[in-house]
Symmetry: C2
Subunit: 132 residues, 2 copies
DNA sequence: CTAGTTGCAAAGAGTTTGCATGGCG
DNA sequence: CGCCATGCAAACTCTTTGCAACTAG
């Protein structure tokens, strides 16, 4: 892990605090600038998000249609070895920590020679609530 | 499937022909405009890509970092029920038609209540060649 | 004091849209 | 002939960058 030289600033603190307070939700930049608890210029916000992602404190996702990125708090180190399901309708992100997926990863590696990066792969579909 | 009213134009023909001639490759808009065999204005190109995707003749992907979309010929109807692996290094797209994935889909549906859309989900990672 | 940080505004990349002209059927 | 498509330019969205002032350590 390469060390990142950086100061501790109140702007980045505000951003991280907000994410920590909503660990189960994803936010796009627009959501964040609309927050009254985040008083940070847009450029600084982008720089903070980028830094926090590199530090592993946040996780960045991209919408399936490619229209913009969204970010979420990444508290567990376990996130490195689990998959994410994202509902196409309500946007909910589900963390799936399940042995079956480990098996799948192994299967793909041994039978198809492909090393799946679970942190960069998201399965899209419909959650329980939105299936009607 | 809703019918799409549209004329048969030589511009769309050029675009589709090009994709059909390179069924195993992905192209971004920049790639396409650089092709001498595709003489189409940028706006028309976007409109053609959008239409061809809606018709199911092309498939749209988005880079894992969210920086732009890419498109690929979608010849098999079977694509509706198989998964895609995309190499983060060389960009190769692998179609994975495998019973294991069907099982996975079923497992996620029954045990996690989530209906995975295989057409919209891509697993990212490293292919055999790029794992070194 | 020094090096990293901020905010603003400007610049970029990718994509969409308005509109007059042109082409398919 | 009617309706859809094209091409251009302008508009838009999202994100990055240059720069002078500022601040953490």
């Amino acid at each position: 892990m390469g060390e990142i030289r950086s100061y501790h600033t109140k702007q980045r603190e505000m951003v991280l605090q907000f994410f920590a307070a909503h660990p189960d939700q994803c936010f796009c930049v627009k959501d964040l600038t609309a927050q009254k608890s985040i008083l940070v210029g847009t450029a600084t916000l982008y720089r903070a998000l980028s830094l926090l992602c590199r530090e592993g404190k946040l996780k960045k996702y991209t919408e399936s249609d490619g229209s913009g990125a969204f970010y979420q708090y990444n508290d567990s180190e376990a996130c490195h070895c689990h998959f994410h399901l994202k509902c196409l309708r309500c946007g909910q992100l589900i963390h799936m920590d399940c042995g079956f997926m480990k098996d799948m990863q192994e299967h793909i590696e041994t039978d198809h020679g492909f090393l799946v990066d679970s942190g960069k792969s998201i399965l899209y579909g419909l959650c329980q609530k939105c299936r009607h």
